[in-house]
Every structure is written in C-alpha cells, then in structure tokens.
Assembly symmetry: D2
Homo-oligomer: 337 residues x 4
C-alpha cells in the first residue's frame, strides 16, 4: 500500500503512522515528494483495516501499489533517483558515460584505456575481472589481480570503477575495489546474489536478462531494494530473439518504458546489445535519443588482440567521435554531457 501523508505532517506523527504499520507486520519504506511524506507498506496487508487508515492522524490517503514491484515503482517514488558515484551523478540531467575494456588484461592495457576514456568524457571505468563465460575453457578473467589493476588505472585518471560480481561469496571482495557492483545478465535472477548486494551500501547496476521481461527486471531491482539498498540502476544490454545477424537485439523500447514505470536510472550497453563494432555508435546515439541516462561501452586500444569481445570494442578515437555526436543529441532531449 502507498500511504500519503498530508503536507506539513509533523515528523512525530509520521513516525507514529510508520510504527503502526510496522506493528501490523509490514515492511515500511519512506520517501518524500513535493513536500509530502510517502510511505510504502509491503507484506501481508490483511492485518490492517485499510478503510480506516485515512482517518489516522496525518494520513491523506492509502492506495494500492498495483505493480508487483513497489520500491522500484514511480508510484511510490515519483522523482528520478540520482546515484552519486565519484564525479558522476547517475540519473541526473547529465548523461553518464562508462567505458573501458571487456576484461582487464594487464597494467598497460588498463592504464592506456583509462587515459583515453577519461579524456573523452567518461566518469566511470568498466572492466571485468571475473568473467561469466559460456565455456568453462575460455578465459575467466584475472580475478583479484585484475580488480587491483582496474582500481589503480581508474584512480590515476579520476574515474570510478564498475565491475561484475558473479557470486554471493564475491560481494565483499568486489566491494573493496569497485564503486558500482554489476550484476550480469546471466545472474539477473540469482536471488542469493541480489540479496547479498542488497546488504551493501554500494550502487548496483542490474543488467537485463537475455529473455527477461521488463517486469521481471524491475522485480530483480526490488530484490535488492527490499534488503535496504536503494542505490540501484538498470542496464539494457540486448535481448535474445530469432535474429542471428546481430549478437543480441538491443531493446531500446525498454528505455522509455522503464523511465515511466520506475524512478531508477537506465543505462544502455550497445556493445553487448548489438555486438558488432560499426553498429555500436548508431545504437549508442539512438539510446540517448530514446532517453537513456547513460551508456556503458567497451573501448579497447588494440581490440584485435583483446582476450574477450574484441569484435565489439570501439577504438578510442571512435569513442571520442561518438561522445561528440551524443553531446548534441543530449541537448535535444534536455540533457548534457
């Protein structure tokens, strides 16, 4: 249920309302919008006589949150969530650019790329240290060594770090090195992992599963938020369809849909989304035109020798050029870089 308090309700009264709901066994979350406190009460609703709640002191109305996701919904939290990460304010008027190699491969690679993407305007560096690979025999990432390199390379250029966490047992390790914890598409419904990152206070980026509906994706965000961590953003990275020419089918329709249903920032990953280098820039431009809050893009100075995903990585100069194009498109939709 969504319980709206009257404008100017005293804090003590608000606490009273929330206490009564908690005592009925409900989980209670609070936000504010246009000077009014909004309380989401989640759980077995049968213990409360909802008809009478509007007569409680301070309460204006109580209405059902009809979507299965509650904390992630705009109904509960009408204004856009903005996540502060280093120099980035993700979800703000300014477009966030995250860039870097698919996998961290070594000191030189990471520093070279960090320098290039920082110069082009990125504020977050991406780089995998633990890689989810379809084959057990493929390169699995450098592990903690990779995280250390990534951290140093990012720090040297004033960048924040995003990196994927693949298992509940890895969360504390990742949290030591990364500023944003990435949940990969294959793990979007790994609920033990979602719960674990929900117990940290690190921003979390949840990639959409290959065949996940938008509702399921928002429910995965809800799994994190229900544990207390409200710093969640979503990342569209392509769905699986019948088409075989592209690696995946980047679903930009999801951008305006999620922006309407939810207050969480939406990032687009055109690199995995389409999977072909010369299609990355068109889809990145399109993502911003569709209203995305940011991009996460694979950039590599020597993609032909990359240990993973070289064929979809941009050269640094291509990334530069793309940023210039996006700058103008951002203005059309009331944003900037």
């Amino acid at each position: 249920m969504l319980v709206l308090l009257k404008p100017g309700t005293a804090e003590a009264t608000a606490i009273d309302v929330m206490t009564r709901l908690r005592m009925a066994g409900l989980a209670v979350h609070r936000t504010e919008h246009e000077g009014r406190i909004r309380v989401a009460a989640i759980g077995d609703l049968s213990a409360v006589a909802w008809d009478e709640v509007k007569d409680w002191p301070g309460v204006e109305s109580a209405q059902k949150l009809s979507r299965p996701f509650k904390l992630a919904s705009r109904a509960f939290h009408p204004h856009d969530t903005i996540l502060s990460v280093g120099r980035a304010a993700i979800g703000d008027r300014r477009i966030t650019l995250m860039a870097g190699p698919c996998s961290v491969e070594g000191e030189e690679q990471a520093f070279t790329i960090a320098a290039a993407v920082a110069k082009a305007g990125a504020t977050v560096m991406r780089g995998g240290a633990y890689k989810p690979r379809t084959s057990p025999y493929a390169f699995q990432g450098l592990g903690e060594e990779g995280l250390k390199i990534l951290r140093r390379a990012a720090d040297a250029h004033g960048l924040s770090v995003i990196s994927e966490v693949m298992d509940s047992q890895q969360v504390s390790l990742l949290a030591r090195y990364a500023d944003i914890l990435q949940i990969g598409a294959r793990n979007m419904q790994n609920y033990a992992l979602l719960r674990e990152v929900g117990h940290t206070q690190k921003p979390v980026m949840i990639k959409r599963g290959l065949a996940s509906t938008i509702e399921e994706w928002l429910l995965s965000a809800e799994h994190v938020m229900a544990q207390g961590n409200q710093q969640v953003m979503l990342c569209e990275r392509g769905i699986r369809t019948f088409e075989t020419y592209t690696r995946n089918t980047l679903d930009l329709n999801a951008v305006p849909v999620v922006k309407e249903l939810s207050h969480l920032p939406v990032i687009v990953d055109p690199s995995h989304g389409v999977g072909i280098r010369n299609k990355v820039a068109p889809m990145a431009r399109a993502a911003i035109a569709a209203g995305a809050d940011g991009l996460i893009i694979e950039v590599h100075h020597d993609p032909d020798h990359a240990l993973s995903d070289g064929a979809q990585s941009l050269f640094p100069n291509q990334f530069d050029e793309l940023v210039a194009q996006i700058r103008t498109i951002a203005e059309v939709v009331g944003r900037s870089i």
Copy 2:
C-alpha cells in the same frame, strides 16, 4: 556472380558481355558505380566457365555474390538507392517524413490530418483503405472510397500517398490512387503479391514480418526486384518477442545492419513498433539517430475516436514537436529534414 567491367569499357563491349551471360541462361542486371559498369548474373551458374570470364574483353573481374539476395545487396549496387516520389527523395540526405491516420475514416478526418502533417514537414501521407485485421469482425477499411478520399486530401496539400495493398488482385486498383504501394508485415512473404507489385513501376515499401530475419526481409525485396521493379524500400515496424508491455519490439538494430547489407532506403514505423503513444517520439528520435532514412508515423486529430490504432497515434502538435527534435538529430548524422 558479380562481373566488374574495366573503367571506360565501351557500351558495345558491355552489351557483348551481358549478351554472353544471357545466352548462358542467366538473368542479367546492370548498375554503375565510380565510372564502372557492374553486372549481376543470376541463375544456374554452371553453364559459364567463370575462370575464363576475366579474359573476356572489357571484364576486370568476376566474383561470387555470396549473400542470397543479389539485386538488393550493396555488393552489386554500392551507392544508396534514392526513390523519387513527389516532393520526396527517399534515401537521400534529407529525412523523409510519412504521416497520417491508421485508417482513412472520412473526408473531414483525412483533410484535417493532411493539412496538419503537411504543415509539420511530411511529404507523404499514409492512410489505410484496406486493413489487414486479425479478426474478421473488425473494421476492414473503406476500400476504394477510402483511397479516393486519401488521394484528394493528399493532393490538396501537395503530399504523395502511401497505402497498403493486401492481395495480388488489388495491385492495379491501388496503383491508380497511391504513389507508394505498401506491403504489410503479414504479407511480407506473400510471394504472389510481391511478384505482382514487381511488375508495376511504382515504388514499393516492404514492412518487415513480425518474426522475419533481416535476410528474409531482403529476400522479399529481391522477389520484387527480380521482376524488374528496383524501386523498393524497407520498413522496420517491430518484431515479436516475449515482452508484453509494448505491442511489438521495435528493432532499431536492423537499421544500421540493413544500411550495410543493402542499398535500399530504410524507413522506421515507431507507431506500430512500440504501440504506445508516449513512447512513439522517443523511438522516432532514436530511429533517426540510428541512421534511418525516414519515418512513417500515425497522426490523428482525434485519436480517442479513431476506428483503429488510436492508442498509438500522435496528436498533430506532438508530431510538430517531434519534427523539431528530429531536425537537430538529423544534423548529427549528416542529414536534414
């Protein structure tokens, strides 16, 4: 096979080459690029000794056209095809805007909308007179009466007309009223219909089938072109996926992919593609950012009373606003409106 002639080959020599190929039972098509004649020879290739063709007078090389579509491929026809229709040059630097109601419903509706979309910058008016409806009991369109109204409304505002032809027996009727013959998504592989429009000299727009691969779509274009009509454009209008929040999943990845594989213009239909009014503008902007040659958009002055697809039709003022946004995005990708 693609037979490239040497620069400056005399016309008589070129004709000689083509005649020899025809006498071997092959269908022969010709184009020119950078001062050189290019000849596509299609059919049972076994009757020609291809090793020896490069020794024929005027021939520079003979190479296999590896894709199953031949005339539609960039390999055969490297430069962009531009289709002249009234004031529009579809595929040219200038973005083409097609707009109008889903169905023609009457004189007043058609004239009101024609005036609005012409003023906003559209050069082609869309409007269905024969509607493919999933249910036999739904409104099937006004038929020829609708075509007459559409023609008059378009003419009154200097617009060209695009309208759907649903059956091989309707082609000559449609050709009398429309400037562009539209093949609907459900008929993308109605080969009798494709052949029939291939025998006209009218521009044809082929909508992508709901579950058609890009290759199949280009092969449908090839069905038309193989009959002699090279005036073909393609229209992405959303594919079917597991997602139920949107009506279809507009696949913008198809835009840069088709532009690479083929020389044919690509139009995007965000109205059917996403099917929700307030998502049409974001997807339309994204389409242009991704490199589309034009848009076809449903506009209705009174969508709540539209006989079909009202929920996805833009109001005229929304269309105006969209055109303004697109103007700037077009410049980013080297285009204009």
Copy 3:
C-alpha cells in the same frame, strides 16, 4: 452472443429466433449439441436488448462468447468437428496420416511415393505444386502440371490430395485438383486468400504462422468460417525461437491447448517442425501422444536428390516403422489408425 434454445424447440421457433437476430444486423450461425440448437450471433451487438432475449419463445439463455474467435470456439460448437475427405474422417477417433513429397517433381517420383505411403496407411497424399520459397531464385514447383501428376498418383492408390494454394487467384485452380486446400504458414494472415477459400466448399488446412499466437491462428480459421466454409483444420508446423540447432521449434503444447479452445481438428507436421530426418519420428510419436488428430509427413524414396526439403524427408521404410509405433500410442490415448 451464444443463444441456447430449449430442448425440443420447434424448427419454426428456431427460425424465428434466428430471423430476429438477423434483422438486428447480426450474422447468425447454428449448430446442435445434445439435442439443443445453439445460435451464434456475431456483429454489432448493440441493436439487441440481450436482457430480454431469454424471454423470447424457445430461448433458454443468451451469453457472451468471450473469445475473439466465435465459430471456431468450443463454446459455440462443443463437439469435435469431423471432416470427411475420401477415405479419411479427419478429427474422428481414427488418426489421419497425410504423407508425400515436399514438391511434386515428376510422374515416377509421385507414383512411387504414392504407392509407398498408401501401403503404410496414409489416406491423404501431400505434395507441393506451387512452393513458397524464401529466395526468388529457388525451385518454385511444377505448377498445374505438378497438380495433374499429384492427382493421378493419388487416384491410382485411393488417396486424397492436399496441396498448398498461395494466392487468391489460384484458389479455383487448386480446387480443381486438390481435396484439401492448404494455407501455408507464411500466408496464415493473408486475409484475401482466407476469404477466397472461405467461399469454396473444400476442406481447408491452415498452417500456423512462424510467430503466430494460438489466438491469431484460430482467428485465421474464423476468417474462413465467417465466409461460410466450416470445413477447417489446423496444422502445427513449428514456431520460430532463438534455437538454431533445429529448423523450427515444433510446439506440441499447442495441441492440447487448441483441442480445448476449439472443435477443429489439429494436424501436426513434424517434418517442417523440427527439420531433421532422424528427429521426425520422435516428434511424430510425441504429437500423437499429445492428442493430435493426424500427421502430415514428408516421405521421399530418394531424398538426397529431392528438389526441396530432402534433409527432413523420411524414407518409405522409416515411415512404415513410424506408423507401427503410432498404432500403439494411439491406443493409449483412445484412438486408432
């Protein structure tokens, strides 16, 4: 609306009811079940005061037909439809076996295969004379010559003939040679064609479109039935998914679902459905176990030299063996061969 008449209602009274409905502008269809006349009234329902209909002489009740398909629904027509075609009673307790080559290629081929499949227990011979081919350059079938051969080969062995009709202009030609008109998957929503076969009195088999929902498929049947031809059967032949190992994904779930929603017979085509010879028999067995009313299977005595679909055609002896297996499975589900 579904108007149920009381048991024992006099014919004159029934006609009265139907006339009143027709005069209100509705299309009226009639069936009988358990001694009671059932009337489906379809169209703009607003002209009738439905509350009062139950007070009309002879009327027991009037209720909404909630599904968008009406004549195809079990609600209107509770008992199974059985289509008599030559020696076959399709939809009856007995499983119908249709078999033959993908394309008719010549006299010898057709007669050899006809003999083999008749001996094995088939009662209907399949064979394409007009082939819908993705490429305009592939073998398109022998046309009318093929139909003549097919007819003679079938007649020589007491078989009925099923063959595909691809265009509204071909219907009368096909109807001259074939006993069952097949609508191919690509034409499932070719409404002009559906209307045309709806005007014949030939049984029609509608293949499910590659990405068609079950509801759309039943609505295509409704398009035929609304024209007056109630002799319709459905054919599941595989849908398109992301899987690339098989040609299509035969969707056997559709069998029990359609049998519940509709009274029309359901045939399964495992040859196109899975597209790999040694997977055809397992899927054919599974289809019967799932409750299908029949099978349509590609059989070729020399598949390596077939002009189309050789890789999925069974050898005659494999078809024999399959029929033996199916005989036992049929008994498990209360059927026979």
Copy 4:
C-alpha cells in the same frame, strides 16, 4: 582432442599417453567404449604436435572434438550415462519418475504426497525448500526445515530426494539432505554455483534456462563436469516464446537433439513446461514418446491450497493414470517403467 587408444592397450601404456598429455598442460579425461580407452585432452592444444600423436605407443588416432562441449559430448563418451540414485538408474532402459510438491509446506503435506507418488511408481521425490521467486515478497520456502521434512517423507517411502540449490553457499547444506542437486532454470548460467556442485560427488540435474540454446545448456553441464563431477543430467522445462496462453513452451524437440549430441540423461518437466494442469499429462506422454529418460512432475493432494504452483500440480489420481499411460508408450520406444 579425442585420443583413441588401440583395443587391448595395456594400462601402463594408457597411463603413459595420459601423462604426456597432462605434461603438455592439458586436462585429461578418460572413458571406455567397446573395449577401447578414449582420452579427451582439453585446453591449449598448441603445446602438442598432434600429427605425431598417432605414432605414440598405443594410440590409434587423435581427432578434434569439434563441439564446444567436450566431456558432455557423445563423441567423447559414446554410450549413455546412467546415474544410480537409490532405486533409480537414471538414463537406463527404465523410465525414471520424479514427483512431489512444488514447495515443501509441512509434515503432513510431504508425507501424504510421498506416499501417493511412491505407490504410483515414482522413485525420486521432488520438493522445494529454497524457492527462486520473481518477487521478493512471495513465499521463499521453508529452508532447512523443509529439507528435513522432505528427507523424512522420502525415506518413509523408499524414495530418493531432489531439491534445488540456489547459491554456492548452500551446496553443502543441500548435499546433506538431497540425493540429487537441482540447478534451477534461472541459475543455469550461475557459474560459481555450477563449479561448486562440480566439486561434490552428488548427481546434479541442470534445468534449461528460459532462453538458453541447447549448446549453452550442454556447456553448463560441461562447467560441472570440468570440475570432476560426471554425474549430470539435463532437464527440459519450457522455453520462453511469444505465446501467452501457456506459462512456457515445453520444447520437446530438445529431447532427441540432446540424446544425439550428448550421453547425459534427459528429464522432462511438463509441469513448469506448460503450466496448466490439464495439459501436463498430454505433454508428459509426449515427452516419453519423444525419448525422454524420465519425468519430473508436480503432484499435490490439495493443489488449491498449495503455496506455489497449485494450478499446474496433478492430483495423485491423475498421476496414477498418467503412469499407466506412460507404461505402454515406454514400450513403444523400447523402455519400461
């Protein structure tokens, strides 16, 4: 690479061959077939001169294992894998029946159902104690308490236990109570979890992900097997398509395909696969007819009050009846119950 040794090669010679391959840095696995030792050597193949391997003592041939899955492939391991679990021999001539409630809900429920399914012929009892739920607010299972109940109920009726493990940290707990560790569809590509169960010696059943290709599914099995645990079986449980009438689309095509590509047993879950009670039996029959090695079916004595998935659970008497039907179908495909 697959290194085949000559028939009758002495054990010492075989060990020699394997040692040489290991010393080249390769992982080495061994199986036997028709009296011959077969050695799979996996890893960076460049350190061995493969042309010369056939001249090593005891070696007959060395050939590439072309599929990305190696240990899971029939090329390496031509005979069917049979997993011994209590009274079941999964993959053997005898069909394995696993049945039980979706979730363990309490002592009485578990014992009642255990008795019923044991009597009907099941040898393995299913029951969830940790449930992967799309919503964080839905019933998440009884946890360890549920496992204890499940174990006692199964033991009381001579049944083995299968239950889902959702996280790498849960593996040792699950292994204490369950005989088979189930990897759910959402976790099919949770590689940390796959590795962890790969370190146990418990049989593992891997459910196919909702949008996983057959190749990816076999690669998930490979992830387990590469850790040393060869006791793996696969479970088809429905893929996600555009169809909304059924919960999922049970893909029976996968059964014959996997049986050809791999030696691992294939179980089918029609309960989740179709998700509608009266469609479970038809699809279960079809699965056996298609060649499945077993079924896993939800059975509940009071499905209307089940805490999860009641709408797809069979009543015990329906399960009885189904087993009787399957008995006959099993014989048709050379199996028994």
